[in-house]
């Protein structure tokens, strides 16, 4: 892999005396989509705001395209683009004027480039309208257009699919994938929509309570977290079943409720388990083969899913 274009080292942020971000470090490379996952309040937006210059960095370093934002803020920031929380524009001005104003602050953004980007996000018909007339989805598109206007090396997107309809989400996902995989942009996406990330990201970093729990390629993460496949036996006597199965399959019981018991076993073991339960007089109404999702991986890493949306 080539050099990292976004490098965060030992980042710390206090709000008052509370440590909101605790020693967070990660790297994002060109051509990849990096997912930044965490429940609400984990510190996703705070980290992004520190990268984008909204919040002062209390401790640690942020390097963008190899430039420390402390030493040369303007050059560092010129290779970054993004949306923080909701995209906010000047509502009394048209989308076009908003983009022109933003372009003025960057080098080498031509009127043609603005037109090209507007067409990319599919806003060419409404671009002359005032921003206050836009729907949330349209604002989101203009926000994306603004963030990629100056061809940044790093694209930072905070919950970019907020307020978009499914087809819009798909379009946007394709844009990000194209930017990363074809144009070599490093895309950094934060979200709590985990299924969304599963479809888009190459690597994922999970943040919880201000701490980065780990950065893994998405496949590896899911494999590690669960072993992948498990079987769900539908029965009304799951507790009894669990006690019986503990003897022969001590580590395999994944979970049980009033309606079912889940076992992490191989496919060939299913008839044997079924037979044992039948002999013990526990009726089985059905067996499902299930695959664990990123959601499950997430819950198992962060130790509980109470705060997951």
């Amino acid at each position: 892999m080539s050099e990292a274009v976004l490098e965060v080292k030992n980042l710390v942020k206090y709000f008052g005396k509370r440590k909101i971000i605790d020693n967070v470090s990660f790297e994002v490379f060109p051509g990849e989509i990096f997912g930044f996952l965490g429940p609400n309040g984990a510190g996703k937006t705070t980290t992004i705001k520190m990268i984008m210059g909204f919040l002062a960095v209390d401790e640690g370093e942020i390097m963008i395209n190899g430039i420390n934002i402390r030493s040369d803020y303007e050059s560092a920031m010129s290779s970054i683009g993004g949306i923080v929380e909701n995209p906010e524009m000047y509502k009394d001005l048209s989308g076009q004027l908003n983009l022109e104003m933003y372009a003025r602050l960057h080098d080498g953004v031509t009127p043609e480039r603005i037109k090209e980007v507007v067409e990319l996000v599919g806003m060419q018909n409404r671009i002359k309208d005032k921003v206050k007339k836009y729907s949330l989805g349209m604002k989101q598109r203009i926000g994306v257009a603004q963030s990629i206007l100056h061809k940044p090396k790093v694209l930072i997107l905070d919950e970019p699919t907020n307020g978009l309809d499914p087809s819009g989400i798909k379009e946007l996902r394709d844009i990000f994938k194209k930017l990363a995989h074809e144009e070599g942009v490093a895309v950094f996406v934060s979200s709590h929509l985990l299924s969304e990330m599963q479809l888009m990201c190459d690597r994922v970093g999970i943040i919880h309570n201000g701490k980065l729990l780990g950065v893994k390629p998405i496949k590896k993460l899911m494999d590690e977290a669960t072993g992948g496949v498990f079987y769900r036996f539908m029965t009304k006597q799951a507790q009894q079943a669990a006690e019986i199965l503990k003897v022969d399959y001590p580590e395999k019981v994944r979970n049980f409720t009033a309606d079912y018991i889940e076992l992490e076993i191989e496919e060939q073991e299913v008839p044997e388990v079924n037979r044992k339960l039948a002999l013990a007089g526990i009726p089985i109404f059905g067996v499902n083969k299930l695959e664990s999702s990123l959601e499950d991986a997430f819950i198992s890493i962060t130790g509980g899913g109470n705060s997951i949306a």
Partner: protein
């Protein structure tokens, strides 16, 4: 610098789309026309009044009054003669004296009617006639005393009185103003109660009279003599300087301070300069000020008020509004350092203020020109070290607005600072406007209660504001002491104020910049 320019252009685009700018500009222009119009109407009404005043019927009325007085004197004399016939010897003498006095009055009034002089006017012929009357009254005392029985002094006095009467008669007969002035000078010379310096002052006044009004026309043209009262004002200043006494205080007389003396000398120079320029004539009305000046000053005051309102709304919302709507995000994610954003915003608001000031200048000059004539603006006369200088109307008013803008700038930076610190538009606009309106009240209160006294008063911010009115002092033409009029004795020197305001601006600016640079935008 390139980034700063880009930011500045963006800020100007935002400001130009703001409704408040358009509204304030519109209200200001309409208000200027309205204000000028009202003053013009006042002037028209006054002119009509003046015309009525000067009409022929007024002259007739004066003649009638003189005749009536004459008739009164005559009938009174007849009454007294009747009374005298019945009275005893002791009373007769008294009546005789009264009748003699009446004879003098009858003689003078008959003479006045014959010469068509209104005895109560300020013209030199009327003054001569009144003096004549007084002299004739004093002659009554010598009647009945034979010349042989008088001593030398009495004889000389009688002779002098008779000479003066004939001199006045000659002046009136010939309508010779120059002779009148020469005669006044003679009287001054022979007056033993005055010092040589005081005589010199009086003579200088007479020289001025002749210089400005060689034929006595102005002095005789109406019952109120503007020239004379103006010159009396100058005389008073000269006397103040001569005796080193401050006559200008209300009731209290105290020695002049060195700065008061300087002020008075400058005032004197200004008054004399104006007199020689003929400025006193223009303000010959009851209000004693030129209405076009009132209109101009009023328009500029109103414009400054509008300017401050606009600037406060813009600056008070500059940062806080962007934070509350979230639009600050597109600024923060741009590759520009925060101090550039800070200065670009500040500069753009100042630009909006300057643009308003330019509109104010142009529109007020236009309104003034249209309503009162473009050539009729009053120039500003001032004096440095006792030497008078003149600032042309257009430059004077431009400089005036420039100085008013210093106030605007102070409020602007203050509101901007509040906007950054409180991040609340309502609070920053509200507090700044409250201070703008309430500040002078607080100042009055502080001065009145003497919580701060003497030296400390000059450290109250409001005492250092209003540079325009302190440097360009209100000019009251017909009042001799105009230079001192409206002088706030608590106000520090202009130089002190400028330094004070600059320091204050730098403090406000630094606090705001530091807060904007360092604080997180959540």
């Amino acid at each position: 610098m390139r980034k700063f320019k880009a930011l500045y252009i963006n800020e100007m685009i935002k400001i130009s789309r703001k409704l408040v700018v358009i509204i304030v500009m519109g209200v200001m222009v309409l208000g200027l026309f309205g204000y000028g119009g009202i003053i013009k109407l006042t002037e028209l009404a006054q002119k009509r009044y003046d015309q009525v005043d000067m009409s022929g019927s007024e002259q007739d009325w004066r003649k009638d009054e003189m005749r009536n007085m004459l008739d009164n004197f005559k009938s009174e004399k007849a009454n007294l003669q009747d009374e005298m016939d019945k009275a005893d010897e002791e009373m007769k003498k008294q009546y005789e004296f009264q009748i003699k006095s009446l004879d003098v009055q009858i003689e003078i009034y008959e003479y006045a009617v014959e010469k068509d002089i209104y005895l109560y006017s300020g013209g030199y012929t009327a003054v001569s006639l009144r003096n004549m009357m007084d002299l004739k009254f004093s002659l009554i005392n010598y009647e009945g005393i034979p010349v042989e029985e008088m001593n030398d002094i009495q004889r000389a006095e009688k002779k002098r009185t008779e000479d003066e009467i004939s001199k006045y008669e000659e002046i009136i007969e010939k309508s010779d103003y120059r002779m009148y002035i020469d005669f006044q000078n003679e009287i001054i010379d022979s007056d033993t109660s005055m010092t040589e310096e005081e005589k010199q002052i009086m003579r200088e006044s007479n020289d001025l009279r002749v210089k400005i009004d060689p034929t006595g026309e102005i002095s005789a043209s109406s019952d109120y003599d503007p020239l004379s009262s103006y010159i009396t004002g100058i005389e008073n200043i000269k006397k103040s300087l001569l005796h080193n006494i401050d006559y200008t205080g209300y009731g209290s007389i105290k020695p002049l301070t060195p700065s008061g003396r300087q002020e008075l000398e400058n005032s004197l120079a200004v008054q004399i300069y104006k007199l020689e320029k003929g400025d006193f004539e223009r303000s010959n009305n009851y209000m004693q000020v030129e209405l076009s000046d009132v209109a101009m000053t009023g328009m500029l005051g109103f414009g400054t008020f509008m300017m401050i309102c606009m600037v406060l709304i813009l600056a008070g919302g500059a940062i806080s509004q962007e934070i509350s709507t979230g639009s600050i995000k597109s600024l923060i994610i741009s590759p520009v350092k925060r101090y550039k954003i800070f200065f670009a915003k500040l500069t753009s608001i100042i630009t909006a203020g300057v643009a308003t000031a330019v509109v104010l200048y142009i529109v007020s000059i236009l309104v003034h020109g249209i309503l009162f004539g473009f050539a009729n603006g009053s120039d500003y006369i001032y004096a440095i070290n006792g030497k008078a200088h003149e600032l042309s109307f257009y430059i004077y008013r431009m400089a005036y607005i420039g100085l008013e803008f210093v106030d605007v700038l102070v409020y602007l930076v203050f509101a901007y600072m509040l906007s950054i610190i409180t991040r609340n538009t309502a609070v920053s606009v509200g507090v700044s406007i409250a201070i703008y309106f309430g500040g002078n009240l607080v100042n009055l209160f502080l001065s009145a209660t003497e919580i701060f006294s003497g030296e400390w008063l000059k450290f109250i911010p409001f005492n250092n504001m209003s540079l325009a009115d302190r440097i360009f002092k209100v000019q009251m033409n017909n009042i001799g002491i105009s230079g001192l009029f409206g002088l706030n004795l608590n106000a520090p020197s202009s130089m002190f104020s400028v330094v004070y305001l600059v320091v204050m601006l730098i403090c406000f600016g630094y606090i705001a910049l530091d807060s904007f640079n360092r604080r997180d935008i959540k």
